[in-house]
């Protein structure tokens, strides 16, 4: 208990607190820029922490990282441009809300659910470190492979309730997995589908693919409509819209809580990939709807589709930190970089962090809490002005957002081919939406592809195909079947009569 309060006082010391505010300012700007994600900024800022104490360094780095996760949602909602890879799920319902003139409500909901998610994540971090060890150790490659596949199945199951819609969803998930195999294969070093281009040796970068497939189709549609993002929808009272979004968080608190738990769970699993947390939470939000009528708003601007991913996005940060601190096993790319900061500070993740350096560990918990509270309070003050952007004529907005998109994409490899990849995926995304092929399974398949391949390869190399009969794997397979079949069973009266 003493370490817990000491951790708070350490963060509130003027130097640590000032550095946290500085980090938050940087994180806010970075979160708004597509492409330059929290992980990249953490890497850029690592050299600046050499002369800081551990508490100051983590206040600075974690303050920046947690805020970047929150503000990424802002561009997702306002322009349909994911602020970073993890914010992509917020686009699906957040942007349609902005198009409907409810940007304020969507932003209020995203920020408040992010805050609740962050608090739940931090609380879990505070109490769970000694408890989660057996859970983490239970999950080997076969289980992690199945967990990733469940993530893809979750989002694929939302492609529609006809056989053809499901076929298209699964096909897109597989297409995403196939795209992730471009480049050098990790085990043997062989080059695959590189088309003789050195650019493809490292594979397709996530940022050009993501902003291309989500942002460009939306910008083209905005140009086609020839109006502002919100069109001719009445602006209403933006302040009350923001308040409505905040109230939505508490109206659907149980959903926000469950989605936060999904985020924490995915964060705890080392290597499960943060990208899956938002999508799984989104899928959970959709599947929690009681009937077809309740579900039909998803994808067209349902606030629950913003609350779920918003909560998971930030609760994941607390979950991510658990294996990083407790075992030195980073749960994501950003945590791997943070692990570098541990080394610079002379701290060794593991039992020492729970005994000798427990105060530092709790200072990290407090940083997550304080940084998120301040961010949300400050953001709420400017949300009204941000929401007004959706009423500016499309002709003004499009060139600026396009620049943002292409600068973000360019930062992937600093090559013109990044821009060409963005363009190609923009075209692909537009065609897919027009023809009714879902983009989310493709994106999630692509995000998780390398992990899925690695886990599958290790599982087969180590156990042959006997891993398929391991009890936990069987349980996860059953869960996957439930995820796929449940929507059909629940909606039976709706589709049985008129399906394919």
């Amino acid at each position: 208990m003493e370490a817990f309060t000491d951790g708070l006082f350490l963060v509130l010391q003027w130097k640590a607190f000032s550095l946290m505010i500085l980090g938050m300012g940087l994180g806010f700007c970075v979160g708004l820029l597509p492409g330059i994600g929290g992980a990249a900024t953490l890497a850029l800022m690592i050299p600046f922490v050499f002369k800081m104490s551990p508490v100051e360094a983590f206040a600075f780095l974690l303050g920046m990282h947690s805020v970047a996760a929150t503000t990424g949602d802002i561009t997702s909602i306002l322009f349909g441009v994911p602020g970073e890879g993890l914010s992509a799920a917020t686009v699906v319902d957040g942007y349609p809300m902005a198009k409907r003139g409810e940007a304020g409500r969507a932003l209020g909901a995203a920020l408040m659910s992010s805050l609740v998610g962050a608090l739940i994540g931090a609380l879990t971090l505070a109490v769970a470190i000694p408890i989660v060890r057996p859970l983490v150790l239970t999950f080997g490659s076969p289980e992690l492979f199945m967990l990733s596949v469940i993530g893809i199945a979750c989002i694929t199951s939302l492609s529609g309730l006809s056989l053809r819609a499901q076929l298209r969803g699964f096909a897109m998930g597989l297409f995403g997995l196939l795209l992730s195999t471009i480049g050098q294969e990790r085990q043997s070093g062989s080059l695959r589908f590189d088309m003789g281009l050195m650019y493809l040796w490292e594979g397709l970068d996530l940022v050009p693919v993501l902003v291309g497939i989500f942002a460009i189709p939306e910008l083209v549609d905005l140009a086609v409509r020839g109006t502002s993002i919100a069109g001719d929808k009445p602006a209403g009272n933006l302040s009350s819209g923001v308040m409505e979004g905040i109230k939505d968080t508490f109206r659907h608190f149980w959903l926000v809580f469950r989605c936060s738990a999904v985020g924490v769970f995915v964060g705890i699993m080392p290597g499960a990939g943060g990208g899956v947390a938002q999508w799984m939470a989104y899928a959970h939000a959709v599947q929690s709807a009681k009937d077809a009528k309740e579900r039909e708003g998803f994808g067209k601007g349902d606030v629950r589709g913003v609350l779920g991913p918003g909560a998971a996005n930030n609760s994941k940060e607390g979950g991510d930190l658990i294996p990083t601190i407790a075992f030195g096993v980073p749960g994501s790319g950003a945590m791997a970089i943070l692990l570098g900061a541990f080394m610079i500070m002379g701290l060794v993740p593991g039992p020492d962090m729970l005994t000798k350096h427990l105060t530092v560990t709790y200072s990290m918990v407090w940083t997550l809490v304080i940084a998120n509270i301040i961010t949300v309070l400050l953001s709420l003050m400017v949300l009204n002005h941000l929401a007004k952007l959706t009423y500016i004529r499309g002709g003004f907005i499009i060139p600026f957002v396009l620049l943002l998109v292409f600068v973000g994409s360019y930062t992937a490899n600093n090559q013109i081919l990044d821009l060409i990849v963005t363009f190609c995926f923009g075209l692909l995304g537009y065609i897919m939406v027009r023809l009714g092929w879902p983009r989310p399974p493709l994106v999630l398949g692509f995000v998780l592809g390398k992990l899925v391949e690695t886990y599958l390869f290790i599982s087969v190399a180590r156990y042959g195909f006997s891993w398929l009969s391991q009890p936990l794997v069987l349980l996860l397979i059953a869960l996957m079947v439930v995820v796929i079949v449940y929507p059909f069973v629940r909606e039976k009266p709706a589709w049985a009569g008129g399906g394919d």
């Binding site: 349909g80 699906v92 349609p96 939302l158 529609g160 309730l161 006809s162 056989l163 053809r164 819609a165 076929l167 699964f170 096909a171 597989l174 297409f175 997995l177 196939l178 195999t181 043997s188 062989s190 695959r192 589908f193 189709p217 083209v220 549609d221 140009a223 086609v224 409509r225 959709v286 077809a292 579900r295 994808g299 589709g305 002709g395 003004f396 499009i398 060139p399 396009l402 620049l403 360019y410 600093n414 090559q415 013109i416 821009l419 060409i420 363009f423 537009y430 897919m432 939406v433 027009r434 023809l435 879902p438 983009r439 899925v452 391949e453 390869f457 929507p487 909606e491 008129g498 394919d500």
Partner: protein, 159 residues
């Protein structure tokens, strides 16, 4: 139109999956295993979808799908023209980056788009372009120190 588009897109996916499966079958087990595991089911699913597209009649009761919906309020010919225009602007921007480099392409593109496509007044176009370019220069070039490739024209001219 929708049906023909679906047919063409399915054919595209079949060609991609077929090429991937064929290539992967010639690689070592380590390199080829995962592409085969993904491309063969992809091939089967898309072919099945294609068959259903032709023999299954009109798709009914697909239920709510989680995906964006684009506008259908604009006449088809106007919409088609605007789609082509926007993709042409994007392609033009990439061509500009290739020719003159990113830092010079930013103001050129912004000014042209605002003045020509959005029909914004010259004075406002110039001031918006100058402000944005200043922001771009200080944030990306000075503060974040991002390295931008030089365009072929400056390289050719020896600048």
């Amino acid at each position: 139109m929708h049906r023909r588009g679906n047919f063409l897109f399915s054919v595209f996916l079949i060609l991609v999956a077929g090429y991937a499966a064929l290539s992967a079958s010639q690689w070592s087990f380590k390199a080829g295993f995962f592409p085969l595991v993904t491309s063969i089911p992809l091939l089967i699913l898309v072919m099945l979808n294609l068959v259903l597209e032709f023999v299954g009649g009109t798709e009914k009761a697909s239920g709510p799908a989680v995906e964006a919906e684009f506008t259908n309020d604009v006449p088809a010919d106007v919409a088609r023209r605007r789609v082509i225009e926007t993709f042409s602007w994007i392609a033009g921007f990439i061509a500009l980056v290739f020719l003159v480099g990113f830092p010079a392409a930013v103001p050129l593109f912004l000014f042209s788009y605002l003045a020509i496509q959005s029909r914004v007044g010259w004075l406002l176009s110039v001031s918006l372009t100058a402000t944005t370019w200043g922001f771009f220069y200080f944030l990306f070039q000075r503060l974040l120190n991002l390295q931008f490739e030089a365009g072929v024209i400056p390289t050719w001219m020896g600048w």
